[in-house]
Every structure is written in structure tokens, then in C-alpha cells.
């Protein structure tokens, strides 16, 4: 395992940072926060141009065939820049299932359009309880001729208003094992019977919606994977989604640390920079240490996913748990260090704080993943 970036990866990182500093300043972030859709088609087009929207797709689908570790490097920078919009939804939540479980036809239909920036996708899996587990998937899809008819409500669907297609996890069968009987449908978001209602959530950089489907007809050819066998596809995607969230968290955490350290050097109180007080120094030292160790676990998780190692599940759970705790703590400390100004709406610190909360809670929080790890020791 090699934790040091190679030359190409260093280039990707530098390029990503430059690109995002130019194309995704905080003014854009705040503009998107105010926006109900939260998606900037201009930014999206530019991302397609630099090849980010097909980064890990094979060349034949318009991709750049880079690996998963490369993707996390990019996402680290996106987390640092607090980039809004449907990248995570399109690339991870919907893109990975298509890439890994789609038929050749489906891949040809969707992947090139994603890569070219012509298609925004997302995933609707969570329901009333908001937790990612198979028992929660109760929304029903019933076969009728060549179609399936889907009715019910999905919660916490990210970027639904920006999406052209929504991958919907629905229940098509029941058995003692709740993992069986779940089927994934690519649903055209413009279909009759679809209602999308914004949810007022804390992290406004990552829009979420309530999705109501009222007798929506989906052709069976839009099923990703086999009927009733959708859950393992989502599980596989979730591993990658978690690792990417970890990368975003580490990237965001480093922004918070750097911003805090700079503030501590500049802000004068009692005639000296506040960074000369031990209470501030030690806070910064702890933030730094936490992020160092979070990074190690995040990079380990990314590497084992890339390599397809059997350690993947435990590595991802460890990284997700630790990064979530550290990111939340670092953002809290960052606000405290800034004092009053850090508590204002106008300062950017709270954007990171809120993202740390939504990222920790997505796909299982720290407690949940510690529980999963414990089960492996049983």
C-alpha cells in the first residue's frame, strides 16, 4: 500500500484546487445555498470539460479510467472547497451502481451522458427512518406488463430537483432476509406522478428532498442488476460513498484548520496574536493531530477499495467512524477559536460545521459503524 501521491495524483490535486478556487468560490457556494435546486449548470459543464464527470469510467464510455484513489483525491478538494451540487449523487450514488451492475446497454445509455455533463442522477433509498439499511426499504414496485408501477415516499433524496434520473430502491419481494426483494429502478425524473418537495436541512450546500411517487410506471429494462437483488449493489456503492465522504471530510477539516491557524496568527487580543496563547495552540495541535489520523484511515479505506482487498468493509467503517468524529470536533473547535465572528452567518466556518454533521450522519454515523465493526469481532 502506498500512501504517498504519485506525480499524476499530485497534478490532479493541484489542478483540482486551482480549478475550485477559480470556479467555485464561496460566493457561488452561498448562491447555491439560497437556490432551491442548488446546482450550477455552468460549473457542471466546466467539470465535464476537465474530465471530472467521467473520472473513473472506462474510456469507451467517455471516461478517463482513473482509479478510485484518484477519485478520493478530487473529492478531498471538493470537500475543502465546500463544493455544492450533484457530483456526489451523480458519480457515486447512481453512477457506481450503473457502472458495476448495469447491462452493457445501460452503461452505453447513461455513462457517456454523465461524463459529458448531460445527465444528472441521484439515488432514492432512504425512507421514513432515514437510516441506510434494507429493512427500511418498503416503497413498493409492482409488475404490470413490461413495466413496474412504483408508489410511495422516499426521504432524504439528495439533489432530486437537479436530477434527470433517479435510481429508486423499491421492494419487489418479501422474505425473512430483508436484503432480498429490493430492486433498483432508473426512473426518469420528468415522469408523470413524481412530486419533489425540498426538505429544510441544516447543510444547505447539499440539498435534500422528499420524493413522492404516485403510480409511476418504469419499464423493466430500466432495472439495474437483477430483480430482487438490488441491495448488494447498494452495499457495494455505499462502501465507495463512505470513503468519498471521508475524503471530503478530511479536505474540509484541513480548510477549517488552516483558516483557524491563519486567524490565530492575525487576530490580536491583549496586544498579541491569539495564536501565542497555549489554549489556542493546543487546540490547533489537537485539530492537526486528529486530521492526521483521520487522513491515514481515509487513505487506507481508499486504497483497499481500489485494490479490492478483503479488509474493505472494516477499513471503510473505521474511516467513516473516525473521520466523522474528527470532522465534527475540528469544526466545533474552529468556531470556538474564532469566537463571536465564527458564530456568524457571514463567516464560512458554519458551512463546514453543518457539512460535518450531514456527512457524519450519511450512510451510518460513527456510532453505527463502531457497532458494525464490533459485530465483526463477535
Amino acid at each position: 500500500m502506498e500512501f504517498i501521491l504519485n506525480e499524476e495524483q499530485e497534478m490532479l490535486k493541484t489542478m483540482a484546487r486551482d480549478f475550485l478556487e477559480n470556479e467555485c468560490p464561496k460566493t457561488l457556494v452561498r448562491q447555491m445555498m439560497e437556490d432551491e435546486v442548488g446546482h450550477s449548470p455552468e460549473l457542471w459543464k466546466k467539470m465535464a470539460e476537465v474530465g471530472w464527470l467521467g473520472l473513473v469510467f472506462p474510456e469507451k464510455y467517455g471516461g478517463s479510467e482513473m482509479n478510485f484513489r484518484d477519485l478520493t483525491i478530487l473529492c478531498e478538494e471538493m470537500g475543502r472547497a465546500m463544493m455544492p451540487g450533484p457530483f456526489f449523487s451523480t458519480m457515486l450514488l447512481a453512477g457506481m451502481p450503473i457502472l458495476e451492475a448495469g447491462t452493457e446497454e445501460q452503461k452505453q445509455e447513461f455513462l457517456p451522458k454523465i461524463a459529458s455533463g448531460d445527465l444528472v442522477c441521484t439515488l432514492a433509498v432512504l425512507e421514513e427512518d432515514g437510516d441506510f439499511w434494507p429493512g427500511a426499504v418498503q416503497l413498493k414496485a409492482t409488475p404490470r406488463g413490461d413495466d413496474y408501477i412504483i408508489s410511495g415516499t422516499k426521504m432524504f433524496v439528495p439533489d432530486a430537483k437537479a436530477a434527470d434520473y433517479i435510481l429508486v430502491a423499491a421492494r419487489t419481494g418479501r422474505s425473512a432476509n430483508p436484503e432480498e426483494g429490493i430492486t433498483l429502478f432508473m426512473v426518469d425524473a420528468t415522469e408523470w406522478g413524481i412530486y419533489i418537495k425540498p426538505l429544510l436541512t441544516m447543510d444547505e450546500t447539499r440539498k435534500q428532498y422528499e420524493l413522492m411517487l404516485n403510480r409511476v410506471a418504469v419499464p423493466a429494462s430500466n432495472i439495474i442488476g437483477e430483480v430482487d437483488q438490488g441491495w448488494p449493489i447498494l452495499e457495494s456503492m455505499a462502501l465507495k460513498a463512505r470513503a468519498v465522504l471521508c475524503a471530503e471530510m478530511v479536505g474540509g477539516g484541513e480548510w477549517v484548520l488552516e483558516t483557524s491557524v491563519n486567524y490565530a496568527k492575525d487576530r490580536i487580543a491583549f496586544g498579541v496574536p491569539i495564536g501565542s496563547f497555549q489554549a489556542i495552540k493546543h487546540k490547533c495541535a489537537d485539530m492537526h493531530s486528529g486530521l492526521e489520523y483521520a487522513r491515514s484511515l481515509m487513505e487506507w479505506a481508499a486504497e483497499v477499495i481500489k485494490d479490492g482487498s478483503p479488509d474493505t468493509q472494516i477499513a471503510v467503517s473505521m474511516a467513516k467512524s473516525y473521520c466523522g468524529d474528527v470532522y465534527k470536533a475540528v469544526c466545533g473547535e474552529g468556531i470556538q477559536l474564532h469566537g463571536g465572528i465564527g458564530f456568524t452567518w457571514d463567516h464560512d466556518m458554519h458551512l463546514y460545521f453543518k457539512r460535518s454533521r450531514s456527512a457524519d450522519s450519511a450512510f451510518g454515523d460513527a456510532n453505527h459503524h463502531r457497532g458494525l465493526i464490533a459485530n465483526r469481532f463477535d
Binding site: 436541512t201 491583549f270 489556542i280 468556531i335 463571536g340 465572528i341 457571514d346 460545521f353 454533521r357 450522519s361
Partner: protein, 406 residues
Amino acid sequence: MTTEKSENLNALRREVRAWLRANLPKGWGTPEYKPPPSYSREQHEQGKEWTRKLYDAGYTGFGYPKEYGGIERPRDEIAVIRAELGRTGTPGGPLSLGMLVAAPAILAHANEEQKKRHIPKILSGEESWCEGFSEPDAGSDLANVQTTAKRDGDEWVVNGQKCWTSMWEFADWSLLVAKTDLEAPRHRNLTYFVFSTDTPGFSRRPLRQMSGEAEFGEIFFDDMRIPHENMIDAEGRGWYVAMTALMAERSGGGGFEGGGSALAGIGMEGLLDADSLVNLAKNTKRYGKSVWEDEAFRQKIVQIAIETQAMRWSGTRMAAKMRKGLPLGNEASVFKNFQAEMRQRRGNLTMEILGAYSQMVRGSSRAVDNGDWVYNMLRSLGATIEMGTSEINRNIIAERVLGLPR
């Protein structure tokens, strides 16, 4: 054994209860009751009216001499009244800064005329107050005030800005600390004033906090003229008046009585309530199971319940000390830090309980308990910053309570 005295107290208790039943806002204490947002004009007027009612009934205004409008009653009667008000969690809120900060500072430092002019109207709810204290460059370093007041005949001309002003929007009067001597050393260059918010040259605007609300404001002085008679204490003594005001604020307005009231004064009745946390855990299902079934959560929730009790009894202990006339001083810093950090621990724990719903904020029909848990968590981040950061308070504890070198 029933003494005459305890009979009287029981009668008083019954009287207060009857009065509360008749006068409490409609629906108060029921889950359906939704108070208006604390920074609305409506809430402000309700608060004034409520204070007036309490005052007329003789249920507030304790601790001040009669000549300043104070209400003098025997200690045990006051204890009964406070306990009964505390039991129902009577509304506090928009007037609290006058009671919490202005009245104690005026009582301790103002002249006779000023006391007679202001304290009665504060106690009776007639006039509401805010406080010009923090500045962009005078946060933790409170002495670094940049707002100036320049003597011009019988007036002082004030220029500058204050921020993090609570109760800024509807206040009738304000405290103000300004630099009056550009040459004098720190802590001896400041002077305290009071002024009416009608004064020309005064303006205010909201300061939006990270939770989205604008509980605080910024206030500005542009050649604002204050009559000399509005100066409090002597020229150059502003730092000491400010310290009185700050200590009063940290200790919850000297209201440690019954433990709870100190918290009530700063709007944290809910903090003394562990049951609501338990109920939240019982009512929240995660991965198909009640959160309360999880031993790890039980441990964390009980820890908060324990800290809640510790806070309650520390309040009682401090109140008892004050009653005996024992020195209290900087215990307020200990109390302030503990409650602020405990609020954050509590806030974080509620988010862990809520899972995905920890994202749903006020205004969302999907939010749990109207989004209050989320708001309280976000708001708690300010608790370790306002009224002296946790770091400054730790310095105070170490230096003034424990005697460590500066």
C-alpha cells in the same frame, strides 16, 4: 407538626398557584404551545406585560430596596414564590437583560437619582434594556474598547460600534462602555453610561448567527450625544462597572436561588430536564430499534442527567452561600463554563440520537419537535463564546479562584 409559619407559606403557595392558573399564557406548558420567536416585537410586548403582571402581584423585584421599586418580602416567602414560578417554567426572555445586567450594575455603581430613575422601571417591566459591550476588536479582550466618548460641555459625544448585543431590537435603554481617555492605561480609560435608544445618532441592525436567526445585533453610534448626568460612577471607572455587569450576567443575574432560576434567567429551562432526552431516545427508532434500548446511548443520556443534577445542586449550594453572606465571586465563571459546555454535550448527543433527522431545521414540517433540538445544538456553539469564552473563564478560575500567577 404544623407551625403558624408553615401555614402561612402554604397559603402563599396556594395563592401563587391560583394566580398562575389565572394569568399564565394560554396553553403554556403544553406541547401545543408555541411561543413567538424570542426576537419578535410580539414576544417583546408579551414579556413586558408578563413582567408588569408579576410585579403588580408582588412576585418579582426581590433583592432591591423599596425606594428603588424593589419588593421586600421574607426570604422563605421569596423561596416559595420562586419555586412555584420555577415549577411552571414561567416565561422569561426579552426583558431579562435589564434584570440580569442593568439593574445590578446600576444598583452597585449609579448615583441615587439614577437608581430611582431606572431600577423601578426595569423591575416593573416598563422599560427594556440592552447592553453595548462587545466590539469587533473587544471580544475576549474586553478592555480593548474602541468606541469613544468625548466630553463636550454637558454632553458626551459617542462614536463607534458594538456587536453581539442581545435584546438589541426593541430595547428602550442601553448600557454603554466607551473609551473616554486616550492616554490612560488599560482598565482606567473607560467610562460607563446609560442612554435611551431614541437618542439621535443611534442605529441598529441584525447580526445573523449561524443558526440563521438574528438573536444578536450590531449597534452604531454616529456623533450620538448623551447628557453628562447619564454617566454611571466616575470617569475612568467604566472597567469596574463592566466587571459587575459581566459577573452578574455570568451568574445568571445573581439568581442562583433554587438552582433553576439562574438557568431560567438565561433561557435554559430545558437544560434541567433529563426526561425529555430520555423520551426522545424512547421515541426515536434507528435501524428498526428504539434508541433507548442501546446501552451505549443509555450511558450517554444518563451522564447528561447526572450533570444536570450536579448543576442544579451546585446552584442551590451557591444560593445558600449567598444567603449566608459567604463570598461567591468567581464561582460564576465555573458555573458559566459548566452549563455552556454541558449544553454542547447535550446538543451533540441529541444529534446522535436523531440520526438523519438531526438535519431537519425549524420550519420543516418533518423536523422533530419543531426543529428545537437542532436549533438548540446550533445555538449552543455560542454558549462557550458569549459572556466570556470558556478559555477566558478558565483563566479567571485559575487566577482568581486558585491563585495561579497571571
